[in-house]
Symmetry: C2
Subunit: 269 residues, 2 copies
């Protein structure tokens, strides 16, 4: 009998009264302080995916990290605030005790066939098998992802030498490999290390404030991607006043754009 | 006595019980069906900016357009769901009668001085005075903006000829000119015509589903920008299954990055 995948264990939710869910932080995805943000995002989205009223697949998802999440239980309160013929709008609140620790919004929609023509094309890069694995140690969640950096790896030396650009490209998949779905794709979208570290080669404390994911694949495409590697790319945009943002893209090995993502991140100094 | 600027009239809110606000749709910003999305976004943000509990300036703002907004009154319910030492998290609901028509989340923060180095640099383009005004007619809100397209204007002929790329660059300011603030910057962030029209030269029906703005300027920088032109840039990413997304940037004439923005848009076919 095979054990449950750590991601499935981390996003497991138990029903609570009135359409709310109980969940628990996962030691397997622990970050420096509190959990890896991607797993919090996946838990928030999962509360919608699991919901009996849910209509269609996710199109847009935004999570706001409001406070440090303590080890232990949390409550997720997803509300379908508007249901249209083919789209649905959700507000999600994550609480610990009486304290709100994260908010999220999601838009879901029933899949439709239309004209298609992705403009964000996968760059021409070596295949995962030809790219050595990048070992990253320090916090537990790093062990849950297999990363193969092609460009823009974490600085080898924290020498304070600034760079003009913060483009990173890497192959990523769950470790152990796991068939892709909306929850794991959302978790993976937060895998980028902070762009400000790359620009400055200085390990200033950071924390994601808000992350958005736009989904360009439906459930069938994600299932067809299976446990394969994803190519991730991100680049910073604005840096100053204690915050920076980046924009990113996620493709599967076949070069299909699965999602785009953006986030804004607090940095201390 | 000078008349109130149409933007100020459009975002004017009257106090309602329990921290909620009354507002009214503005004929000056009417779109094909319902209001221009940028004005709805600005109204949602304004309900936070006006709130007596508000801490600091906006950092991140996401608005989800849940339903067509009818001409007339609406209610805005902003809630400060988490207030930290220097950041604050908001959930905003916009209602007409008992129906939710938009949701939004906002993160605000007290301004801090840190390392700064914007990576998204303004492209080298002709100045506004050297760029002829682009006349766009059809819906009322277009008359509220002075636009000067440099690249990627709306197709001159709807001949169905597809293009691989949808990059647009244009100078934009309020018409009549108005000193920049967070509300007008947020409204301007939605000014891009749909990227799918540029890709396909086919006027398929569209509607923004979700828009995010990350602010890279504080109130003082916006005030210093005054009523000057902003350079806006946007490019599409994924197109298919009835939705596309774009990413964009907004700079002032001095080349300072003021905001980045993303949105996902429904298209019919």
């Amino acid at each position: 009998m095979s054990a449950r995948h750590p991601l499935d264990a981390a996003i497991a939710l138990k029903p609570h009264a009135e359409g709310a869910w109980h969940g628990r932080t996962s030691a397997a995805y622990a970050n420096m302080i509190g959990p890896y943000g991607g797993i919090t995002a996946a838990q928030c989205l999962q509360s919608v995916l699991h919901h009996p009223e849910r209509l269609g697949d996710p199109i847009a998802f935004t999570v706001n990290f409001a406070a440090a999440i303590a080890e232990g239980e949390f409550l997720l309160r997803p509300r379908a605030v508007r249901t249209n013929r083919s789209t649905q709008h959700w507000i999600i609140e994550m609480l610990q005790g009486d304290h709100l620790v994260a908010t999220a919004t999601a838009v879901t929609a029933t899949p439709r066939e239309t004209w298609s023509g992705h403009e964000a094309r996968m760059p021409d890069v070596p295949r995962p098998a030809d790219t050595p694995r990048t070992l990253r140690r320090g916090v537990e969640w790093l062990n849950r992802y297999e990363m193969r950096f092609l460009e823009g790896a974490i600085p080898a030396a924290w020498d304070g030498e600034t760079r003009d650009e913060s483009l990173s490209r890497l192959w990523v998949r769950d470790d152990p490999p796991r068939p892709l779905d909306f929850a794991s794709l959302t978790a993976i979208a937060d895998v980028f290390f902070p762009r400000v570290w790359l620009r400055r080669a200085k390990p200033t404390p950071v924390g994601t404030v808000s992350m958005t994911v736009y989904y360009h694949a439906d459930a069938a495409q994600l299932a067809a991607t299976g446990p394969g590697h994803l190519l991730l790319q991100a680049q910073g945009q604005g840096f100053g006043g204690g915050f920076f943002d980046h924009g990113g893209q996620l493709w599967n090995e076949a070069g299909e754009l699965l999602a785009t993502t953006h986030q804004v991140v607090y940095f201390k100094e």
